[in-house]
């Protein structure tokens, strides 16, 4: 309602949550069907009940197995975290945009692009994220060896790369303050690396050059992160100020984490850590730097004892950071993964085990296992497709999910009554009557020609809706009735038409007449129009009536344009859908 302010959608909007749950339920049905078909195919081809977990991993290099199973579990956890009901609306504003807030403009553009795609189809995008990540987890979990397993690794790397760049703002590597302790350079970058390694031929794990290079890469990464942690001027050596308030990077992060909703025991532990880190920042940061550099040097040395010791120290550091600084990665807002430390821990173990348990070139798995792997991989790919296909089709078709407009304004209301006859003029002075519009579907709204907020937006929604109708536009008339008791003259509606470039619409009529005639229409259609004093714009209901070609009102839509372009686009999609129903 112009003059009454507009609202946006909350993360927990019940319409959105219900639609998300419905999409997940339908996806679950599809997944069950996929699983049954996969089992049936395997039965038909092999005559046995499949046991993809039994024995299929035999011969798989240990280092590879650690990465595969570990990241499989992480993908499943990530997929389950995506089921949170706040995810469809909350992810762009609470996860994507903050991840790039301090990054350069081009990174923010990349993230904004992803956020825009998500915002236009939030239900399908959120469901897609669930099924893609569960599908990848199942793929890595069930398919142990062979080309199908490597394909799973490649798929995992590809999706992780999307998450790291678009969803994670490149892990903050282009932003100031990058720190391994705070999640940099992004857990998904470690997923990308794991996926790439899993996509390589299994034989590489027999090569000392490869497993040594893998350990050295991990070591170099930790040394670099250690140097960054020690770099002066980045706040890592600072503690509390004179008033005991945390100003250093570590105590500030821990202190912020301690204030998020979480179990009391954990909050107390994290708060105590923040206090301690704030009072002895040199000790804490120095220990972290030494640990990172020391662990890195241990892996770089490739010496078995040094690597073992580095692994133990590294795992201890990862556990402490995960608990006291990253707050287990699950608290502090809309969590999408358990943060960097679990992935780093997997890499510490996998790289050490790959060195320690370097095996001869494995033999090809038996036929039974290859068949099981193929069926399981295709099944897992189908689970991924359950999420990807609807989201891709909807995005490729353009437009916005009408559910957003319904969530904000309520759904369309069915009505059935004859239109009130009127005789008014449009901005050009041409007479327009309800009878002259007979034979067309009529979308009629009420606009204030000098409204500063909603009305120009509603007019643009009508334009977008008309454009989306394409050839069927000729069967629809768009009508706006002047809704301002002071500024309602023909000159005013003509000026509004010119301002909003509405005269290019073939069947657009912004109509007006005597105040008495307008008041008769306002009253009949339940539109309250007032002009309060003291600087407020005129107030009227944002409402649109749809009339069928015989001149009967069939649908009423609340037309509040909302606070974002996405909501406006959603209303246009809803209007189009309703007009389409009346045209059929």
């Amino acid at each position: 309602m112009p003059g009454m302010g507009s609202r946006g959608l909350s993360n927990g909007n019940p319409v959105i949550v219900a639609a998300f749950h419905s999409a997940l339920f339908h996806g679950l049905l599809a997944v069950v069907v996929v699983a049954m078909v996969a089992i049936l195919i395997f039965l038909l081809l092999s005559g046995k009940v499949p046991h993809p977990l039994q024995g299929s991993w035999r011969g798989e290099p240990v280092g590879r197995r650690v990465l595969r199973l570990g990241f499989a579990v992480l993908w499943v956890v990530d997929g389950l975290l995506q089921v949170q009901p706040q995810m469809p609306i909350g992810l762009p504003t609470e996860v994507l945009q903050p991840s790039a807030a301090t990054s350069p403009g081009w990174v923010q553009h990349v993230v904004a692009f992803g956020a825009g795609l998500w915002e236009h189809q939030p239900i399908k995008a959120a469901a897609a994220a669930v099924w893609i990540q569960l599908g990848l987890g199942l793929w890595l979990l069930l398919v142990a060896r062979g080309p199908w397993s490597r394909l799973g690794g490649a798929a995992s790397a590809a999706w992780a790369l999307v998450v790291w760049s678009v969803g994670n703002g490149f892990g903050g590597i282009f932003a100031p303050g990058l720190s391994l302790l705070f999640g940099g350079p992004g857990s998904s970058l470690l997923y990308v690396a794991a996926g790439i390694v899993l996509a390589l031929p299994e034989g590489v794990f027999s090569s000392r050059r490869f497993v040594g290079g893998q350990a050295r890469a991990l070591g170099a990464f930790l040394v670099v992160m250690g140097i960054l942690q020690a770099w002066p001027g980045r706040g890592t050596w600072m503690g509390n100020d004179a008033h005991g308030q945390p100003v250093g990077a570590i105590p500030a992060m821990s202190s912020a984490m301690a204030q998020t909703p979480q179990p009391h025991l954990l909050a107390t532990a994290v708060a105590n850590f923040a206090r301690a880190a704030g009072s002895a920042p040199v000790l804490f940061n120095g220990a972290a730097v030494l640990a990172m550099v020391g662990v890195g040097l241990g892996y770089l040395s490739l010496r078995p004892k040094a690597v073992r010791l580095a692994m133990v120290v590294g795992l201890t550091l990862a556990a402490l950071v995960w608990i006291f600084i990253e707050d287990l990665g699950l608290f502090g807002g809309l969590s999408t993964d358990p943060n960097t430390m679990p992935a780093l821990a997997l890499w510490l173990v996998a790289a050490a085990f790959a060195l320690r348990y370097r095996a001869p070139v494995p033999e090809a798995p038996p036929r039974q296992s290859r068949l099981a792997a193929m069926v399981a991989a295709v099944g897992a790919a189908c689970v991924v497709a359950v999420g990807v296909l609807p989201a891709t089709v909807a995005t490729a078709a353009g437009g916005t999910d009408p559910i957003l407009a319904t969530a904000q304004n309520g759904g369309p209301q069915a009505v059935n009554f004859a239109a009130l006859p009127f005789s008014l003029v449009d901005g050009a002075g041409h007479p327009v009557t309800m009878a002259s519009l007979r034979g067309k579907v009529v979308a009629m709204t009420f606009l204030d020609p000098v409204c500063t907020t909603d009305c120009p937006l509603i007019a643009q929604e009508f334009k977008a809706s008309a454009a989306a109708l394409g050839a069927e536009q000729s069967k629809v008339a768009f009508v706006a009735v002047a809704a301002n008791p002071i500024y309602y003259q023909q000159q005013a509606v003509a000026a509004f038409d010119a301002q909003e470039h509405l005269t290019t619409l073939p069947d657009w009529h912004f109509v007006t007449g005597s105040l008495a005639e307008l008041r008769r229409l306002w009253l009949f259609y339940g539109v309250e129009v007032t002009a309060p004093s003291a600087g407020s714009m005129a107030v009227h209901n944002d409402v649109t009536y749809l009339f069928d070609p015989s001149g009967r009102a069939r649908v009423v839509l609340n037309t509040d344009p909302g606070s974002s372009a996405v909501l406006r686009s959603s209303f246009s999609a809803l209007l189009d859908a309703q007009i389409g129903q009346l045209l059929r």
Binding site: L228, T452, I486, G535
Partner: protein
């Protein structure tokens, strides 16, 4: 190079690459203030911004009328949001106009007219955006004239149309001083166009006959005409001169507008800035200047220059129909009117306005 040497070199290289300095932020620009008053005949109108000044959606331009006894009353035209502020115009007969500046998604200018003012208002519409300056609208015997934000001059009696006759002379002055249109006014027989002239040496005022002839030399710095108003014998205009010695001067004509004399109103010292202006068809001009020690009032009336310290928070001064002056201060929805009493300012009226917070969100 050993492995640790390579690692150290790689570490230093990558560390240097990711230590990114923060981006510099741009300097803010301050908006032009629309607080102003106009007095013509027995009609005295003032407009002032009220509400939460830090939030444009909750800042409202309000119009008040001062009756001959010095009492203020709210007369803001209804029917449109005033978050962008208002511009007032009054002539010697009391004919008045109040244009609501476009704001948010509106790019048109709703106009309310009254004859004689103030109110009841009759609605009109300028189908373009008005220039955001207190002198961009003129009401008078020749009709309603407006300077638009795209540098055009429009005039009306029955409907808006271009005013090429009045514009051509102004354009020649604008070309000479590298300037743009900034204000409009009218005498009984001619339209006067004020300009903003970045190039020193040219007085920023033109009539259809050409540049207005001003006795003495030209301005020493860039000059901007803030207000111009017809008087019974000619016109009066307020001009701001910037540069190393910023000042406010008054141009006045007593021969129907052919020639003008220049007289100082105020020299602005560092830390002082113009807050609002007041002008009257009797030829009086005033300016409220924000200073380090509070607001100051400079008045030129009947050839006499006076100045005074104003009560804290004073935003705008207004000439009453009898020629005296009052000042108005606002805080949120509260309005305080003060008048001089001896060497002091005495509050003689308080009123409150129910501001429609949240109505333009």
């Amino acid at each position: 190079m050993r492995w640790w040497g390579r690692a150290a070199a790689l570490g230093a290289l990558l560390s240097a690459a990711v230590v990114v300095p923060p981006a510099a932020s741009g300097a803010a620009t301050s908006p032009w203030l629309l607080d102003a008053s106009s007095t013509g005949g027995t009609t005295a109108l003032l407009t002032v911004a009220m509400g939460q000044r830090s939030n444009p959606a909750n800042t409202f331009g309000e119009v008040f009328a001062l009756n001959p006894s010095g009492q203020l009353r709210l007369v803001t035209p209804t029917g449109t949001a005033t978050n962008g502020g208002l511009v007032l115009a009054v002539d010697a007969t009391g004919r008045s106009a109040a244009a609501t500046m476009p704001s948010a998604s509106l790019h048109l200018t709703p106009v309310a007219q009254a004859s004689p003012g103030p109110g009841p208002w009759k609605s009109a519409l300028l189908p373009r955006a008005l220039l955001g300056a207190p002198g961009s609208l003129s009401e008078g015997p020749l009709g309603l004239f407006a300077v638009t934000s795209d540098g055009q001059l429009l005039g009306t009696k029955t409907g808006w149309s271009w005013a090429p006759v009045h514009l051509s002379a102004a354009r020649s002055v604008a070309t000479r001083c590298g300037g743009t249109l900034a204000a409009v006014g009218q005498t009984a027989s001619r339209v006067l166009v004020g300009l903003s002239c970045p190039r020193p040496g040219t007085w920023p005022l033109a009539s259809p006959a050409g540049p207005v002839s001003v006795a003495g030399g030209g301005p020493t710095g860039p000059a901007r005409c803030l207000r111009v108003l017809g008087t019974p014998s000619g016109f009066v205009a307020l001009v701001a001169i910037s540069g190393p010695r910023p000042s406010l001067v008054v141009l006045a004509s007593n021969d129907g507008g052919n020639h003008a004399t220049v007289a100082p109103l105020a020299s602005l010292t560092p830390g002082q800035s113009l807050r609002s202006t007041a002008i009257s068809t009797s030829g009086s001009v005033a300016a409220v200047v924000d200073g380090v020690h509070g607001p100051l009032l400079f008045v030129r009336r009947g050839g006499v220059l006076t100045s005074a310290t104003l009560p804290s928070g004073s935003q705008v001064a207004v000439f009453t129909a009898s020629g005296s002056i009052e000042t108005v201060a606002t805080k949120a929805g509260a309005v305080v009117v003060s008048a001089p009493s001896g060497s002091r300012w005495v509050v003689h009226q308080r009123l409150s306005v129910a501001l429609p917070y949240g109505s333009s969100g």
